[in-house]
Subunit: 346 residues, 2 copies
């Protein structure tokens, strides 16, 4: 099959990989229709984190092509969304809604399980995949369904982990695809005020379209002062940290009011948690690798009902043969997020 | 007046201080009946944190003796509990329930505002003090009311910050007065299982009487394994960290299940937050300087209705003239918490 192949830093290209086969009776093989590139794929691309040579990518939607003997809830031809992690759905962590900590699970993107490919093997298919009802969905809907495989669920996890309540003033640090989805998620949860930290005009515009009521273009201490000035002098009721650097984390903590929570979903890189400041202001931190599988059913319902349109974060698209361009556009910040058309939808 | 005087590390004794007077129209002067020594007073006693020479102590109950011209809700002779911080009750942080972050507030124990004394000046009296209804309370009730000035509210803050829900398996790290109160608070919030980490037989016994269903005497990684073995292999649903050292914090994070929260109230000393572990297991941390004032009304109701008896943490008592013994008993771990009888109750 054709697939994106990670050859090394700054070298991702289309190539041939063996067709995946059912290896375990709980596996399904998916024919991928749409895939995309994640901000976290860029760490490998930039050489900031190691990745083995071979398959890559962990976001995909597609059709069930084969199922193992023990797969109960899926049939050939079902249209499914794949979250970025696989999980059995039955262990104590899955039952608690934290499928990214499944005691038998794991993550797509490595170990031969690449989503930027014509086909992907999905372990623990019953617990992992979510069937999309209906057929003949518009391209707009398909793009939004693809966003549910990671960024929309991750943005939602940030604001949910921050304990966002209706009417809250919510601040979002990070204007990447996840940060923009966090704006949309905050709006969906009924935030009264949504403050987006962004200095990029195109991203500011999409943030406003997703529901941001205020945009703060400042950074660091100036951003902290600007957000406090918008929030009674004390800070936001809930803060979503969607970057993961030391600077962004410090800003997120600084703009959180005493008694509030910073929900963080950016994988921490060089973050030192300012525990004394957290203690003295009673600010909590909560988050991690988003249990997208937990949120998929509710978010899927909202996409199909056209209440949310997270697919608008895709502002660059190409096909598998031009996968290198998908990475380059994001690396150079020409694109918020790159979509990869793999095969026509059924 | 007679008062405890901090002269320097390991030198606290009774002495003479000027009687406090109403300095601001929002002040009240309290005639202290009972006071006590806090685990945090020991940092000064042990020279681990600086403290100015003079008045000390931040936990007291007593009678209103004088009020300033602007005090509206209190009258001479009212019997009150003083939380360890003063607050106006009207700023955005107070309105959000985080009075320890009051924009006009501060803390007792320093700046001449000592609770281990015959009298204490209370700034912002209307926002700070909580009136105790009724009269002729038993000594047992008075001891429990005194515990509401800090340790019971702080223990409650730990389990509340950990998002404890009815039926939860809650683990408590720390068997000091705050940890023991956290056990009682977890029981009060309907925890299904309460795991107390303690290796001291007397404290284990009180923990069980306060509601602990399991006691883990191990420490470090062995404790983590023991708690996980009690909790489906994944860890507790909520964890209260009531010590504040690097080791206790690491244990608390280790015994928290993915998707849970560590509520922490021990002032952090040498804590390095393991952000990568938190992220990968979706464990949050939340807490800080307890807004005891927020919790006082509900806890007061439960004390008066004899539903909780946090005063049982006092296992040593003396008077102001022997204040040095109150400190020594706690320093040498002969006492969980020392009560100081200052004057007879009205």
């Amino acid at each position: 099959m054709r697939a994106a192949i990670f050859n090394g830093p700054r070298d991702v290209g289309a190539g041939e990989l063996p067709d995946p086969v059912v290896a375990e009776p709980t596996d399904a093989i998916i024919r991928v229709t749409l895939a995309c590139v994640c901000g976290s794929d860029l760490w490998y691309y930039r050489g900031e984190a190691p990745h083995e040579r071979g398959a890559i990518g962990h976001e995909f939607i597609g059709l069930v092509e084969q199922v193992g003997a023990d797969v109960r809830t899926l049939g050939i031809g079902d249209f499914v969304v794949g979250p970025f992690a696989f999980s059995d759905g039955t262990c104590p962590n899955c039952r608690a809604g934290f499928q990214t900590a499944c005691t038998h699970g794991g993550f797509f993107g490595g170990n031969g399980l690449g989503g930027q490919a014509e086909h992907i093997r999905v372990p623990l298919a019953d617990g992992t995949l979510v069937k999309v009802p209906g057929s003949g969905h518009s391209d707009e809907t398909l793009r939004s369904l693809l966003a549910l495989s990671d960024v929309m669920g991750t943005g939602h996890h940030a604001v949910a982990s921050a304990n966002t309540k209706p009417g809250n003033a919510v601040a979002i640090v990070g204007d990447g695809a996840v940060g923009l989805c966090a704006v949309l998620a905050a709006q969906r949860l009924g935030a009264g005020r949504i403050i987006a930290l962004s200095r990029n005009p195109a991203r500011q515009r999409l943030a406003r379209e997703f529901g941001a009521t205020d945009v703060v273009a400042e950074r660091g201490n100036t951003a902290i002062e600007a957000v406090r000035a918008l929030t009674d002098g004390v800070g936001a009721d809930a803060v979503a940290e969607c970057v993961g650097t030391g600077d962004s984390f410090a800003t997120a903590v600084g703009i959180a009011r005493p008694g509030s929570m910073v929900g963080y979903v950016g994988v921490p890189h060089g973050v030192e948690v300012p525990i004394d400041d957290l203690f003295h202001r009673n600010v909590g931190i909560n988050g991690g690798s988003a249990p997208v599988r937990q949120y998929l059913p509710e978010l899927l319902g909202d996409v199909l009902a056209e209440r949310i349109d997270p697919g608008r974060v895709f502002d660059f698209e190409t096909d598998l043969e031009h996968i290198a361009e998908a990475y380059a556009a994001m690396d150079e910040r020409r694109a918020i997020k790159s979509l990869v058309r793999v095969a026509p939808a059924a």
